[in-house]
Amino acid sequence: MMNKYSLLTSALLAAMTVAAPAMAESVLRLDEVAVGELDPAKASDYADSILMFNVYDTLVLPQQGGPGHTPHLAASWENDGATYTFTLRDDVKFQSGNPLRAEDVVYSIERMQALGAGLSYLFAGVTTAAVDENTVTFTLEAPYAPFVASLVRLPIVDKALIEANSDEEWGGDFLSANAAGTGAYGVRSHNPQEETVMTKSDSYFLGVPDVAPDTVRLRYGLEPATVRTLIAQGEHDIASQWLPPEVISALAKDGAQLLTEAGTGGFYFKMNTTKAPLDDVNCRLALSHAFDYSTAIQMIAINDEVSAGSPSTGAIPVGMFGANSANMQMSQDLDKAKEYLAACKYDAADMNIEVSWIAEVPLEERFALLMQSNFSQLGIKSEIQKMPWALFAEQVSKPENTPHISQLFVNAVTGDPDTLLYGMYHSSTPGTWQSPEHLNDAEVDQHLVAGRSASSDAERTEAYSALNARLLAIAPTIYGFDRQSVFAASNRVKVPAMSDASQAFGLDGMGFSFRLMEMVE
């Protein structure tokens, strides 16, 4: 066995030596939190999105530097009431060499609907049909205003390749370890706990510029101190946004550049509304009024210019439909908190609030301590629980296993408020890491449906304003701050989509489109 293995290794080494180009290969190295989910239908968190946006393509892309969407795999589209008709480009080939056809689009969306994982809820009630080889229609059961926006989360997979390589109905075994996309980068190796290595695809339909990295190594689960050292030694390029602010700021002082991805999301302290004492709205209001919002803002400042967020004004980040204006900042009010606590049916002395924090995000431990200190001002005891991300994501699927308070950064996965709020608060969405509130409120449901089905922007604004007011009144969540992602990066790489506002996508994770990055050297 050993012999075979080493033979194989030397054979591979020999092959690589022969194949190595004369010019030095440019390598981009970055890191994220484990697990890296390669199956695009199951992609939901940041690491998954980075993989998805590079290995797969979508019919449309967000317009860079402004609102709206531009055609990508699609050449054009038309909208007639509940039906959207997309014409596909005819020059697109998958990495396998198979041409892109309408049936691939149908297969991709039906696969998402069948698996029901990741962001599949975006496509519930959509019927898809291939009219001819290059035309596909989507028929919506109910009007859904942000449908085109949601297509940025519909990665198109290679039906023929999957069916040739897998016996499973939807090829889950194949797609969790292999690439089957049209994307600018192919997968050379993938270990969801350690590292995914991606290489430039030669056959990309838009072409990949020479300056874009030839190889990308996305590593999972690096310690902040390790990232700090690796960047200082020139052995790492882009650190994950989960580094504590002190480390990002130390890196910036040493000359690292700071990349930002502007906020389409918020940092939320989510309360389990099914578990005593937080099933009582007055208790939740007491906690949300006790939280020290201004200290939280101080804690996330990187330096004088850059911060990982701005003050929250409610459930909806400033700038989106229905958001409160930027001067209506949330603030601590202990007197009000005490009033609410007195109205709560549970006795403060008996409470023991579980405040969890995600082990991979050290900053959250400080928020946990902040909450513990704030709550103790009301005489409420609390207990801090450290949970690894993988464990947390599994536990929250059941209300009884979900801690009282979960700390999460949630963003609008399509840039539209519907995808920020529907998955968090609608009673029909299953328990995911986005919805540890397990909220079940008829009025919230009603506003959410109104927001997604209204046809004009004015009606949508009205629905989301009402939703915002209702959410503040029943406080399922402590709205910490509107978040902006900050990444410390070496100067070996230029990332216009995350350093130049006119090139920004306004969609989380899309800044990591490697084909738009430029390697210096």
Binding site: E223, P224, A225, R228, T229, P244, E246, V247, A250, T295, Q298, M299, A359, P362, E365, R366, A368, L369, L370, Q372, S373, S376, E383, I384, Q385, K386
Partner: protein
């Protein structure tokens, strides 16, 4: 007096004694001697967060602005309590089992000592981690886990002495006049094991502190905001090399405690063997 003279002949053990006494004194009177007595709880002071050592905070402050010197003294309370409780429980259990196996012999010896062998065959830290993985991470459970790991070493030690003493004249004499097995074990043999037990306990204090710190380093011990040396090192390690004071001082605190108990243990061994 004689004890003190022997101790004084070995200056290193005097250093050990002084360190141990200092640590015990600081832990017992922590409330009165630390500069920031409230900093063992969920206090936060972001104006002074993450500051290097200064006249205001001798060992600097942590990421939420708590005084690290104060927290180290409080952490000694936890470490010493844990060490004392673990040894106070593990030593009698181990001693009784060792005495029984060593004096009674036969199938009792076989059963007990094979059980001890099973426990000793698993690396102590691995066994403790496995136990803490199942139990809730609290101070009591950490004590329980370390105790389960610890008693077999005492059983082994006492057993080997008891076996040797079993054949000694004074034991045979006691048997001849009809003394009970309990009397012989506890009144005749045990006093001869005590010097070795006491020496081992002193040396073990340091090791128990290390194991407990390792557990909390891995997040399996005492939970925040209670200060604990192991978890302070673990949290601080993320911010190396910039905020070195977060982990270096708690690390030194572990070193000093373990060093002190080891030196004292060595000194005691010398004294007690001279006595014998």
């Amino acid at each position: 007096m004689r004890t003190l003279r022997i101790l004084a002949r070995n200056p290193l053990s005097v250093v050990g004694l002084v360190l141990v006494l200092l640590i015990i004194f600081a832990a017992v009177f922590a409330q009165y001697i630390v500069p920031y007595p409230t900093h063992n709880g969920s206090v936060i002071d972001f104006a002074f967060a993450n500051k290097p050592p200064s006249a205001r905070n001798w060992f600097g402050t942590d990421l939420v602005g708590r005084d690290i010197f104060s927290r180290i003294i409080y952490a000694y309370q936890i470490s010493l309590t844990l060490g004392v409780v673990v040894l106070a429980v593990a030593t009698p259990i181990g001693t009784i089992i060792g005495l029984l196996a060593g004096y009674v012999g036969g199938w009792v010896e076989n059963v007990l000592m094979r059980l001890v062998d099973i426990f000793l065959s698993i690396p102590p830290l691995v066994l403790a981690i496995a136990m803490m993985g199942v139990l809730e991470p609290t101070l009591t459970n950490a004590m329980l886990a370390v105790t389960v790991v610890w008693w077999p070493w005492y059983a082994r030690l006492v057993y080997s002495i008891a076996r040797a003493e079993r054949e000694e004249g004074y034991v045979l004499a006691a048997e001849v006049i009809g003394a009970s097995a309990v009397h012989i074990s506890f009144r005749e043999i045990l006093p001869n094991c005590l010097p070795a037990i006491i020496t081992k306990m002193t040396l073990d204090m340091g090791f128990v502190i290390i194991i407990a710190s390792s557990l909390s380093f891995l997040g399996l011990g005492v939970q925040p905001p209670t200060p604990d040396l192991g978890s302070m090192v673990a949290e601080g390690a993320r911010y190396l090399p910039d905020s070195w004071w977060l982990s270096v001082f708690p690390g030194l605190a572990i070193l000093v405690a373990v060093f002190g108990f080891n030196l004292l243990g060595d000194g005691l061994r010398e004294i007690l063997s001279v006595d014998k």
